[in-house]
């Protein structure tokens, strides 16, 4: 955007957010140049830090009036560049809106602002025996608003569902700058489920300013089983058998030798040395049932050829075992100067085949791949390792990473299970969806943001022109009988 436009907009926005709430200093702007996907960087023209929903609305109205694109940012932990700024646009940072406005333990509901961190919701309601179920690995820092934008999952979404299953109402600022609610907080408002459609739209349909979340009673008993195997296939067999037994664990996670090695070096998690695969199965629920399921899970893990099984039921022990898994992404940094965190999904029953394909890709290319995955729902997080100091290696790693996604699509899966499309994967969307599919999705975009100013350039490889809607229409829209709304 031209300097004069920036200057004029900055002065308008200072009136809204206060001088301290508008950043124009180039050095400070640089701290916002990327989110968790650091391979994409763009310095925004302006950063604003509004403190109220009304201020967000005023900022968006000012942007809309000036025709300037805007991007919302929560804690900036996203892994697909969803909060990557627009070079000539305004970055709206919601981290100052971090109040928990209400907790109603009897209704199992809380109302929070978008900048509230995921874990702090659970901390605020723990004394009532409740928790907020979605638990992305970044839950200590990631914001609930960002979770809504990405429809975040986490290790426990296998049983407890995703953000969209735990959000009952959203106050949003539309791309035109109007405050409105989607859903009324009761879980069944009338009309279209725009609340559901908005959740996971990656910041392209508007900006969340309040969230009504559903809270869940804390499980009476939690048991964590660790089983070590000599091959990924054997671990995979245990997963299949557990699901076939009609058990839905809270989480089923698997790590391969390379990621175990990395985690061991980083946090000394004490996983069985030399294991080719470690399987973590967490069971939660009423005590009697968890005990019974634990016996079955142990037996199935053993039958699949486990060389060692451990079980933990006290929180400290469980945390110790989980530490290895949760540290895996960062720990891999010790094995390799650079790596790509991939996020693909395949039907659970195809896991074995797909892992074999990934191993073959790795062998052919000489690029190492560490595998960490949510085995229960087929969500793979291959970590593609490379040395950026070696010419051409980054490109080869990128090719392997892309080939893994192709494999996921080939097996009927998805290019992203939880990290989102963002800027990172929009080019893969046409491999998963037809032109008509993408065009149809963008009808929603056109309904919310016809001017395409709200987080433009994300999710879709090619924007749809929203000006003229196709199809014919004759005469005025008739009035409804009985005062009902016409749709």
């Amino acid at each position: 955007m031209a300097d004069t436009v920036v200057a004029r907009l900055a002065s308008t926005l200072r009136a809204v957010c206060g001088a301290a709430g508008v950043i124009t200093d180039p050095l400070q702007l640089r701290t916002y140049e990327c989110d968790g996907l650091t391979s994409h960087r763009t310095v925004p023209a302006l950063v604003v830090l509004p403190e109220t929903a009304e201020a967000v609305a005023a900022v968006v109205r000012a942007c809309a009036a000036a025709g300037v694109p805007f991007v919302a940012r929560g804690s900036g932990t996203g892994l697909s560049g969803g909060a990557l700024p627009h070079a000539s646009g305004v970055l709206i940072v919601l981290s100052r809106m971090r109040r928990i406005l209400e907790v109603d333990p009897v209704s199992r509901r809380a109302v929070v602002e978008p900048g509230v961190t995921n874990l702090s919701v659970t901390q605020a309601v723990a004394s009532y025996g409740l928790f907020y179920a979605p638990d992305p690995s970044s839950q200590v820092v990631c914001s609930v608003g960002g979770n809504v934008a990405e429809n975040s999952g986490g290790a426990h979404c296998l049983k407890h569902g995703f953000t969209v299953n735990h959000v009952l109402g959203l106050e949003i600022v539309t791309p035109a700058g109007e405050l409105t609610w989607l859903g009324d907080g009761t879980g069944c408002s009338s009309g279209y489920d725009l609340l559901g459609a908005f959740t996971g739209s990656e910041g392209t349909l508007g900006i969340v300013t309040k969230i009504v979340v559903k809270l869940t009673p804390v499980a009476e008993a939690v048991h964590l089983v660790l089983a070590a195997y000599d091959s990924l296939e054997a671990g995979g067999r245990a997963v299949t058998d557990i699901i076939a037994a009609g058990i839905v664990p809270a989480a089923i996670e698997m790590m391969d030798a390379l990621s175990i090695e990395a985690a061991e070096a980083a946090v000394h998690c004490g996983y069985p040395p030399g294991a080719a695969a470690v399987l973590l199965v967490e069971l939660d629920g009423p005590a009697t049932e968890v005990e019974a399921e634990l016996a079955i899970v142990r037996a199935l893990c053993e039958a699949a050829g486990a060389r060692e099984i451990r079980a933990a039921d006290d929180p400290a022990q469980r945390a110790g075992i989980w530490a290895g898994r949760k540290s895996a992404f960062a720990a891999v940094g010790r094995l390799s100067p650079a790596y790509i965190v991939q996020d693909g999904v395949v039907p659970r029953t195809a896991l074995g085949d797909v892992l074999a394909r990934i191993a073959a890709l790795s062998a052919e290319s000489g690029i190492r791949v560490a595998n960490v995955f949510h085995a229960g729902d087929g969500n793979l997080h291959p970590l593609v390792l490379y040395n950026d100091a070696v010419p051409g290696e980054a490109e080869r790693a990128e090719l392997v990473s892309g080939a893994i996604l192709d494999t996921c699509i080939e097996y009927g899966g998805s290019i992203t299970g939880e990290h989102g499309v963002g800027v990172d994967k929009s080019r893969y969307m046409p491999k998963m969806f037809s032109a008509a599919d993408l065009d149809t999705m963008q009808l929603l975009r056109c309904a919310f943001d016809p001017a395409s100013l709200c987080n433009p350039g994300k999710v879709f490889p090619t924007p749809r022109l929203c000006g003229e809607v196709p199809g014919h229409r004759r005469g005025a829209r008739p009035a409804a009988p009985g005062g009902a709304e016409i749709f």
């Binding site: 559901g196 459609a197 009476e220 009697t288 599919d437 009808l443 999710v459 009902a484």
Partner: protein, 436 residues
């Protein structure tokens, strides 16, 4: 007009092979029976070309819900599109065509010990359940169709075929059109195929029930059951008459030993409750209304349950109606049935004739007033009151009292969505998508 209609008919026959006259159904023109997504697309292209108003029919059981369409030149009957396309038992996923009956689907899935965890009538079609957003008591644990739907194929008003989601449960690629179409009541396009996440069929079930005279005690029992770590699948409440006893029932599902142990503890929580293997005769199923009844959905925060019940009583006393209450109180949803003499009316009934009819319908006016009073009181509790089914006279009376749906958050955006998907406003013209 005759030639235009003949032309449309010929084109429809070419599109799907089977077209019937709709004479038997009031106000319906032609009935097309497509057998595949491609045939639905061809039918919709013909409908677009001839500017036909289109209504989609699944099982037909909830066609009378909401506001009847203003016109129906073409009824798209989905009954030929039945069958489970794919049941990936190891992945706990099933792909089902929209015209399949829920009961038939359940039988197929049960062979592998799995289910779509919605308690809905077996003769309802999958597409109808999704389009109406229908859910029964177990919504507390499993949610509604939108929570279980992981992928779908639709045909747009112009005949474009589009998919969203897929056949993996965890998937955030692209916008989730499943959420948009669930509960859209056929107003955005035709759902032709759906993919659901499945759950293992529970090995055992138990119902723990109790009856209360004091409303606050019943409300405390509901909250205790819903908030307990005993994992209730459903917490239902039923009251047959104002001032009458309130029944609370809890469904527990799981392993045989687990359910036995939990039901003893749940009985203690209900202070005391009775335990049975089968549902009590009063157990509410999915919401439904008898002929002539008005069916109202009241949703609220559970902490307001007592005040909501008081509001129903107060509105009933003021208007002289006798509401019957039943529903998923633990999930914050109750269904209130009132009246029983009005006719639903038919497609293409004009506003004028509705008004004339309502003038002779004092009961309709009373019911509408009841809804209006209830709306005012429940709004204070941050709840919503939506009329799902109402006879003509009641609908007329609701004008000026918030209509069928009351205040709908995000209405302007909903209109914009409708304009994008169906710019000619030909899909279920005039219908409001009411979601049970």
């Amino acid at each position: 007009m005759g030639t235009e209609r003949d032309g449309a008919r010929e084109d429809l026959v070419a599109a799907c092979g089977e077209v019937r006259e709709g004479g038997a159904v009031g106000g319906v023109g032609m009935v097309a029976l497509p057998g595949s997504t491609e045939e639905v697309a061809a039918v919709m292209r013909v409908a677009a070309g001839h500017e036909l108003g289109v209504v989609v029919r699944g099982g037909g059981s909830r066609l009378g819900w909401g506001t009847p369409p203003e016109r129906c030149d073409l009824l798209v009957d989905m009954s030929r599109m039945s069958g489970v396309v794919e049941h990936a038992a190891g992945d706990l996923v099933a792909r089902v065509r929209a015209g399949a009956r829920m009961g038939d689907v359940a039988a197929v899935l049960a062979e592998a010990g799995q289910e779509i965890a919605l308690d809905v009538p077996g003769d309802s079609t999958v597409g109808g359940v999704v389009a109406s957003g229908l859910a029964g008591p177990r919504r507390l644990r499993y949610g509604t169709p939108r929570d279980l739907l992981i992928g779908l194929t639709i045909v747009r008003a112009d005949g474009t075929v589009a998919k969203s989601g897929g056949k993996v449960v965890k998937n955030v690629a692209g916008y989730d059109l499943g959420k948009l179409f669930a509960g859209s009541a056929g107003t955005l396009g035709v759902i032709t195929e759906t993919t659901f996440r499945l759950h293992p069929l529970p090995a055992a079930r138990a119902y723990v029930t109790a009856e209360y005279v004091a409303v606050p005690v019943a409300c405390a029992a509901v909250a205790a059951a819903a908030n307990s770590a005993l994992v209730s699948s459903a917490v239902e409440l039923s009251r047959a008459e104002p001032g009458g006893p309130t029944r609370v029932g809890v469904l527990l599902e799981g392993s045989a030993d687990g359910v036995t142990a939990r039901s003893v503890r749940m009985a203690g929580l209900l202070g005391p409750g009775e335990v049975a293997a089968d549902a009590p005769d009063w157990w509410p199923g999915p919401p439904s209304a008898a002929a002539g009844e008005t069916l109202v959905r009241v949703s609220f925060w559970v902490s307001a349950l007592g005040r909501v019940l008081d509001a129903v009583d107060a509105a009933a006393e003021r208007t002289g109606v006798s509401p019957v209450i039943a529903g998923s109180a633990g999930a914050g949803v109750l269904y209130v049935r009132v009246g029983g003499n009005g006719a639903l009316g038919s497609i293409a009934q004009t506003a004028a004739s509705i008004e004339a009819e309502s003038a002779n319908d004092p009961e309709g006016v009373a019911v509408a007033e009841f809804v209006g009073l209830l709306r005012g009181a429940v709004a204070d509790e941050r709840g919503g009151v939506v009329v799902l089914v109402a006879p003509v006279g009641v609908r007329a009376g609701l004008a000026g009292r918030g209509g069928m749906s009351g205040g709908t958050p995000g209405l302007a955006l909903m209109r914009a969505v409708k304009d994008q998907f169906d710019p000619g406003h030909r899909m279920a013209p005039g219908c409001f998508p009411g979601t049970p």
